[in-house]
């Protein structure tokens, strides 16, 4: 038997059939749903009178368009209200578990799935959202799909897929204090660009990956889509198993042992091959910040915005447009750029560890008077845990606004928007034109860099605010 990667193993275990010249009929194990991209799928099923294939392997919640203020049950935007109500009805009729406002499990779909143990190694998982790649942190093959394909999966438990190419991204070296998983993945984006992994599924390897917590691994896999990858994943290990154990959807008793054994067998064989392999050296990596209007337009915090003439020719016009939009000049340092807004949240960095990081920096400090700082937990569970640890107190004392769970200012679909002409340092994943609000400017960074910059009122690295000697994997 020839050596296989984890990607090939999961692929082979899920091909139902494949005719010459046609895509594979590919089995999907679990489906996540949210209010923005699912309604049209349910409508099509109803129109064509097709029953749901397997409602028990679906899980739904609300996140994208809901408010994050305390009285969030009151949705004033009529369309958003309609989306939420439609999902409520669709899931009730179909018998799908739905985490509503009162459930204590509501949250961003990519935060909730793993928290419930629904995301497991070797599984195939889809959601009508591009950041489904997040779930790859568990050694699952997880990817975003459009609404038509969601209809296919809900109707048949399968979709049509061509075999993706495989790519290994190996992180070499160790991270310095003040440098995090977010910085490592942003370094990859800066290196290969936003189309750099198109058509591939990435497996991330290296010592820093093995030392990462599940939260950090999710941050890495989350941003796979930003370099065009179909999905990104990390082979499961003890960290994965410890995280999953005793989660609601996790196997119990005998089944647990069998599961762990099976999961271990999924890891890539030693001498397996990939269609592409690249290495990213993270020794000497510094905190990363985006300067432009796509996540690949990213530099180290101690670097200057690139000189357009020094960029590859095919990137120059985009870079010029980006700088025009974001109102920075070529060759200016990114360090010290004043910000009016700061945001910590999203499926990239809205988990408990991210909030702990932010709290450790904010403790005993004050948010700069010019800065509005939103901190939005990824889920009810994150919110509850943060309160238990007293993080909410720290945030409030520092002058940050600690809000209710949801996507919030990650995409500005609800009331949480950065006003036109104002600049935000953000722990999210996309800095596209107008992403956080029409005419707003976004700089992506790690939660630690965001918290430090909120205090300083300008873009600064977290180091001087880090207490004691924190060492990160």
């Amino acid at each position: 038997m020839s050596a296989k990667s984890i990607i090939d193993k999961i692929w082979q275990a899920h091909v139902v059939k494949q005719l010459q010249g046609h895509p594979a009929v590919f089995a999907i194990d679990f489906v996540l749903l949210h209010e923005v991209t699912s309604a049209q799928a349910f409508a099509t099923l109803k129109e064509r009178d097709i029953p749901l294939f397997s409602p028990e392997t679906c899980l739904a919640t609300i996140d994208h368009s809901i408010p994050t203020r305390k009285n969030r049950h009151e949705i004033f935007d009529l369309q958003a209200k309609n989306q939420v109500e439609t999902l409520r009805q669709n899931t009730r009729l179909a018998g799908i578990t739905f985490y509503d406002f009162e459930s204590q499990h509501q949250g961003i779909v990519h935060v909730v799935g793993p928290e419930m143990g629904a995301t497991q190694p070797g599984m195939t998982l889809v959601c009508g959202d591009s950041h489904t790649s997040t779930h790859g942190a568990f050694g699952a093959l997880a990817f975003g799909i459009g609404t038509s394909v969601l209809t296919h999966v809900l109707a048949t438990g399968c979709l049509l897929l061509q075999k993706p190419k495989t790519m290994k991204v190996h992180f070499k070296g160790r991270l310095s204090p003040g440098v995090y998983a977010k910085d490592a993945i942003m370094k990859l984006l800066a290196t290969i660009g936003i189309g750099g992994a198109t058509g591939h599924v990435i497996e991330y390897t290296g010592e820093i990956i093995r030392n990462m917590t599940m939260e950090e691994r999710m941050t890495v896999c989350n941003m796979s889509i930003e370099c065009g990858a179909r999905a990104g994943l990390i082979a499961p290990d003890e960290t994965t198993f410890n995280y999953l154990k005793n989660k609601p959807y996790a196997p119990v008793q005998d089944k647990w042992q069998n599961a762990v054994e099976h999961w271990k067998s999924l890891c890539s064989d030693d001498d397996c091959t990939y269609d592409r392999v690249i290495e990213i050296d993270v020794n000497n990596l510094v905190p990363m910040v985006s300067w432009g209007t796509n996540p690949g337009q990213t530099i180290g915090i101690d670097e200057t915005v690139p000189k357009i003439s020094q960029l590859p020719e095919n990137e120059q016009s985009m870079a010029r447009q980006a700088l025009d939009y974001i109102q920075l000049k070529e060759a200016q340092p990114i360090l010290g750029t004043p910000v009016e807004w700061a945001f910590i949240g999203s499926c990239t960095n809205g988990r408990i560890e991210d909030l702990r990081q932010a709290a450790s920096i904010l403790e005993g400090q004050q948010v700069h008077p010019q800065v509005t700082f939103y901190i939005v937990p990824g889920s009810e569970a994150v919110l509850a845990q943060a309160k238990k640890e007293g993080l909410d107190q720290i945030f409030e004392q520092a002058g940050a606004d600690f809000r209710m769970p949801g996507c919030s200012m990650c995409l500005g679909m609800n009331d949480d928007k950065v006003p036109a002409g104002e600049r935000c340092i953000s722990s999210t994943n996309r800095n596209f034109v107008g992403r956080q609000g029409s005419g707003s400017f976004t700089h992506l960074a790690s939660p630690a860099t965001v918290a430090a910059s909120a205090i300083a009122g300008k873009i600064v690295p977290p180091n001087e605010f880090i207490k004691g000697s924190q060492v990160h994997g």
Partner: protein
């Protein structure tokens, strides 16, 4: 889906790379629960901010073939981008490369994507911006025809099969129901279901 064997019409040149789906249809227009009503907001931000934007120019009104650069449709997986383009009358996009999810969404909504070399695209841009460029796209023969000459393009055989037969992917999957049933029965699952969390 209707059978699509040929597309004929005017080219509208959108000389940009990395056009993301936020730009195609901004997030604030995604709150509807239907697949309709997005066409009028296609490229809304560019239409508002730039009077000279090609979609504001009368010369290109009614054009149904969009010409663009690299990595079109990157970013969010929203299928609304494809619905918006279709509703605005776009039937085919010619570009140098397309983002994965966007390409997959397009195939399911009868939006034809054609990948051509950068050189040829540059030629087309030149022609389309100086005078009207009318193309005839033959989906059966996989050829773009104009004034006595033609260019071959590649097309995924299954997508072509679906386009030319008016076949819906969902019908195809439903026809595999027995295979799927057998497969799912044999499959290992370690989910704890039943006692709902």
């Amino acid at each position: 889906m209707d059978k699509i064997t040929a597309i004929k019409g005017n080219v509208i040149p959108l000389k940009m790379n990395d056009v993301d789906t936020d730009l195609i249809i901004p997030a604030q227009y995604l709150t509807s629960v239907s697949t309709k009503g997005y066409g009028e907001h296609l490229f809304q931000r560019l239409k508002e901010s730039d009077k000279q934007f090609v979609f504001n120019q009368t010369a290109y009104q009614g054009a149904n073939i969009l010409l663009t650069g690299n990595n079109f449709g990157c970013g969010s997986s929203r299928e609304h981008a494809v619905w918006a383009l279709r509703e605005a009358g776009i039937q085919a996009i010619i570009g140098h490369s397309f983002a994965d999810i966007f390409a997959s969404n397009s195939a399911k909504n009868g939006l034809l994507l054609i990948t051509l070399s950068e050189g040829l695209i540059a030629d087309f841009f030149q022609q389309a911006s100086s005078s009207q460029l009318v193309l005839y796209i033959d989906v059966v023969e996989k050829k773009i025809r104009l004034e006595g000459t033609h260019y071959d393009f590649d097309m995924d055989p299954f997508v072509q099969y679906c386009f030319t037969n008016g076949l819906d992917e969902l019908d195809y999957l439903l026809s595999c129901k027995d295979d799927i049933g057998m497969f799912k029965q044999k499959q290992k699952s370690f989910l704890t279901l039943g006692e709902k969390p």
